[in-house]
């Protein structure tokens, strides 16, 4: 009897381990990203995505690391290939989760990265896409703090370009803060929650 109990415990323990290997892997990937190893982080997110099957989250982060990385590099060829790869990951993510506001927000960021790196080539074509993506995201999830915040930042950027006052969008930032506070604690592990730490930087425009 005891043996059975112990064996049972043991099996439960191993199943828990394997359940946790997703969380362990994801945590490890974030740790790699945090310790300036973006490519290793991307590789791990990609491995998890491939092993998990039908989970959009690791693909989402693999894309995000690529996108964020392009902000710090100058080499055009590298930027292009990272953004292309990022788009591939987001396309994969979308096959497992249609009409997902978070994926649309990330895609808007990806298009913003194109505009940021080469405004003369991508400014015209990709700006409209960015706007469209934020609007679709907000339609799906009207109180999404990331959609509200990043959209406000984007609009502040174009207001500055057009010689208008970016302060006009400060109420949007306030709204985003409210949404961050209200944001329901999602039970899905590693569900996107980032963004609150950007508020201070974006609010520089409101001073």
């Amino acid at each position: 009897m005891k043996t059975i109990l112990i064996l049972l415990t043991f099996f439960t323990f191993t199943t828990i381990t394997s359940q946790n290997s997703y969380e362990k892997g994801m945590s490890k990937a974030f740790e790699l990203w945090g310790s300036q190893k973006p490519d290793e982080a991307i590789n791990l997110f990609e491995r998890i995505a491939k092993a998990e099957k039908e989970n959009w989250i690791p693909y989402y982060y693999a894309a995000q690391v690529h996108i964020i990385t392009t902000f710090g590099i100058k080499d055009a060829e590298e930027i292009e290939s990272r953004l292309k790869k990022g788009q591939d990951f987001l396309n994969e993510a979308r096959t497992f989760s249609k009409d997902n506001a978070e994926i649309l927000i990330m895609e808007a960021m990806l298009n913003t990265a194109y505009v940021a790196y080469n405004p003369s080539v991508y400014g015209m074509t990709h700006s409209a896409k960015v706007e469209e993506l934020y609007q679709r995201a907000k339609k799906l999830d009207p109180e999404n703090p990331r959609a509200t915040l990043n959209h406000a930042e984007w609009k502040m950027g174009s207001a500055k370009f057009w010689g208008k006052d970016p302060k006009a969008f400060c109420p949007e930032v306030e709204k985003a803060i409210l949404y961050f506070e209200k944001e329901a604690n999602n039970n899905i592990p590693f569900y996107p929650k980032w963004g609150m730490d950007q508020v201070t930087r974006i609010q520089q425009n409101c001073k």
Binding site: T14, A76, E131, W162
Partner: protein, 717 residues
């Protein structure tokens, strides 16, 4: 008991967690270690990234036969399926992915303009913001090397070829009448609004076996797959009005566009050299519908144009001038489907249809003609691997033309023909490595009207010399059936033929592009006749021939000076041909020896303005003076024009636009018309053929209304 259990427990743990370590090394084909490759067992979490020496090591608890995957940006993914214990140590050489950025491109003869094309030298936006183009994409292409500036015509003259030697395609299907109807020496424009297109491929020679029936060049335009957003565009211009609307729903989108042009108010203010009785008036309507299926896209394009004008053409032989009234109606429909069949097969199928109807009153002669044309095409593409792709396809062309001419003195005369042809082609793309690629194809065509069958080979080879530069070569034979003006009177002819030999050098580095292309083109079987122009009583033959050779240089730089983008094109052309009614080989009037264009675009952020200038230069153009003994041995003065445009963005969606062509008012002469008979002194008198006006002004207001308020019509200007 406890001890046994502990033992069992430990054993179990050991057994179930028995680890295998996989180690190895990843290098590229040149032996350099690859850092950052992703190495993992398919379907598991087990894996690692390679370090700066290309080495990797990871442990796994899996057993048995597994698949190991190694992937890295711009390399082909590597798979190994075997017993886990046999996987260590591994020495893997990854193959370069020939589809990645930095691969060699098959570009000899081609100017590509598109967002994602690696060979792209221009973006679609560049084309339309070029000063002097006035929204006509054809006019902007005339600033690229390899074209001759023939400002009184407006069509494309490529490398010593006349305008009929260039064919235009939309989504792979033939456009039969790409240019608006016009009168002699009054420049035409492309019929289609530029905002419908997102990709342009302009080949100045050596083009793919997929296309035929053009001796010199093809222009390939692709319509937008998916518009970004719903919007309404309004255009108020001093010569017309435009309205456009785009709607999107589910998997569909529809764009409609209407444009009305009336030159009368403009010509009432600004004096013209042409004596207009009824100034140019036209109405164009266009619509594009797109539907996305699960694995393909259907596009339907329709365009309808009405043109009407009446003028008195100056003529040296007729002092009172020649009365011309022209009414044209043109309908064009184009349907295409592109999709995947699975298993790396792609299908493209489509049809285009055009009806062109002209009602012309030429002094007292009444000409009515009608042409129906059809093009059907089926193209299949199989991707065997990244390194080998095969295309093949079949095409059918049907043209039915009829014309009735009525003159009070000579009575009525009718002519008609059905010109049908069938073509088959196949083409292979082979990448030997990331550095060396070959495209080779063959095209066969059978024409039932002229009863000929012709086979033409095409080949192009490209080699990447450094990471920033490459050289390429192209060769091809091209056949073209005689034009309508000849087929009206004679079917007993062979097609005209040309052969192209092209050597191209391309250098691209971070916003700077240098492209040099040398070529030789031979012409054979050119149509000749014994009258001034083709007539019912002309004697025709295929005895003409000729050549064109030259060098085209293109330089573009948008990096060196902040906010300034410019390009320079220079073309050197040496050509002679014996065709039409030429007594022997001579350089035709359209072929200037030197052509130069300088295009600049300067963005002034503080003014929210895009200032654009275009300078065009052409050396003297040959013309024939019957007072001289030698044929075609005179040259006009040089051609110069400086165009200027200013787009001022009032707000994000409102643009004020001003442009002036030939701002400095250069007095240009294109050609001379001589009298048919000498005057009393025994000399032939002449008149100069000059622009209809020295300058042309456009003032416009463009307003886009959309929900998201970011789009504007800068790409329409």
């Amino acid at each position: 008991m406890r001890r046994t259990l502990t033992l069992a427990f430990t054993l179990f743990t050991l057994l179930s967690n028995a680890q295998t370590t996989i180690t190895g090394n990843v290098i590229d084909p040149s032996g350099t270690p690859i850092q950052g490759a992703n190495i993992y067992l398919d379907g598991t979490y087990d894996g690692a990234s390679s370090d700066e020496n290309g080495s990797f090591s990871f442990a796994t608890t899996e057993t048995g036969i597994q698949t190991l995957i190694i992937s890295f940006l711009s390399f082909e993914t590597f798979y190994l399926t075997t017993e886990l214990t046999k996987m260590s140590p591994l020495a893997i050489t990854l193959k370069e992915d020939v589809n990645s950025l930095g691969s060699v491109i098959l570009n000899a003869g081609t100017f590509a303009a598109g967002d994602n094309s690696k060979a792209s030298v221009l973006t679609p936006l560049d084309i339309v913001t070029t000063a002097g183009s006035n929204g006509d994409y054809i006019a902007a292409l005339q600033t690229l090397s390899g074209t001759s500036n023939v400002a009184e015509d407006g069509r494309l003259f490529v490398r010593g070829g006349d305008a009929n030697e260039t064919n235009v395609y939309i989504d792979g299907l033939r456009v039969f009448q790409p240019f608006s109807a016009t009168a002699n020496n009054i420049p035409t424009r492309g019929r289609f609004s530029s905002f419908l297109f997102e990709g342009t491929n302009f080949s100045t020679g050596g083009y793919s076996a997929e296309y035929g029936d053009a001796l010199s060049s093809v222009l390939l335009l692709n319509t937008i797959d998916e518009p970004d957003q719903e919007k309404t565009d309004l255009q108020f211009i001093n010569v017309g009005l435009g309205l456009g609307n785009t709607q999107k729903w589910k998997k569909n989108s529809l764009s409609v566009n209407a444009f009305y042009v009336n030159l009368k108010p403009y010509q009432d203010i600004i004096e013209q050299r042409v004596d207009w009785i009824k100034p140019f008036e036209s109405l164009t309507g266009e619509a594009v519908y797109r539907h996305h299926f699960k694995s393909g896209t259907l596009k339907v394009y329709g365009g309808l144009t009405y043109t009407d004008f009446k003028l008195i053409q100056e003529d040296i032989n007729t002092p009172e001038g020649i009365n011309l009234n022209l009414k044209n109606r043109n309908l064009y429909l184009n349907t295409s489907y592109k999709g995947s069949l699975g298993n790396d097969w792609t299908i493209t199928a489509g049809t285009s249809f055009a009806n062109d109807h002209n009602d012309i009153l030429f002094v007292t002669t009444d000409v009515t003609n009608n042409e129906n044309s059809f093009h059907g095409k089926l193209k299949l593409r199989k991707r065997f691997s990244n390194r080998f792709k095969l295309n093949f396809g079949a095409e059918q062309f049907l043209t039915s033309f009829s014309e009735e001419t009525e003159n009070p003195d000579f009575g009525a005369f009718q002519t008609s023909y059905d010109n049908n042809s069938t073509a088959l082609y196949t083409e292979a793309n082979i990448f030997f490595s990331k550095k060396l690629a070959l495209q080779t194809g063959i095209r066969g065509v059978h024409n039932t009207l002229l009863k000929y069958t012709k086979i033409s080979p095409r080949a192009s080879l490209a080699y990447k010399t450094t990471s920033k530069s490459q050289v390429s070569l192209a060769y091809g034979d091209f056949y073209q059936a005689p034009q309508q003006e000849v087929l009206k009177y004679n079917f007993d002819l062979e097609p005209e033929k040309s052969s192209h030999y092209i050597l191209n050098y391309l250098y691209q580095n971070n916003g700077r592009t240098f492209r040099a292309e040398g070529y030789y083109k031979s012409y054979d079987g050119l149509i000749k006749y014994d009258t001034n122009s083709p007539m019912f009583n002309s004697v025709f033959n295929n005895n003409g021939d000729g050549y064109a050779t030259g060098i085209d240089i293109f330089w573009r730089d948008n990096k060196s000076i902040k906010d300034l983008d410019y390009w320079v094109s220079y073309s050197y052309l040496d050509t002679k041909r014996d065709y039409r009614n030429y007594p022997d080989r001579a350089t035709p009037n359209f072929a200037a020896k030197h052509n130069l264009s300088l295009v600049t675009k300067y963005w002034i952020g503080d003014w929210k303005s895009l200032l654009s200038t275009t300078y065009n230069f052409g050396s003297g153009r040959p013309y024939n003076n019957p007072n001289e003994t030698l044929f075609q041995n005179q040259k006009t003065r040089t051609f110069n024009t400086l165009n200027f445009s200013w787009a001022y963005l009032i707000s994000q969606q409102k643009i004020l636009y001003f442009s002036v062509s030939n701002a400095l008012g250069f007095d240009n002469v294109f050609n001379y018309q001589y009298a048919n008979t000498p005057d009393s002194n025994g000399t032939f008198s002449r008149r100069a053929i000059r622009p209809t006006a020295d300058r042309f002004f456009i003032l416009g207001f463009f307003w886009t209304i959309s929900d998201n308020k970011t789009d504007n019509q800068l790409d329409n200007l």
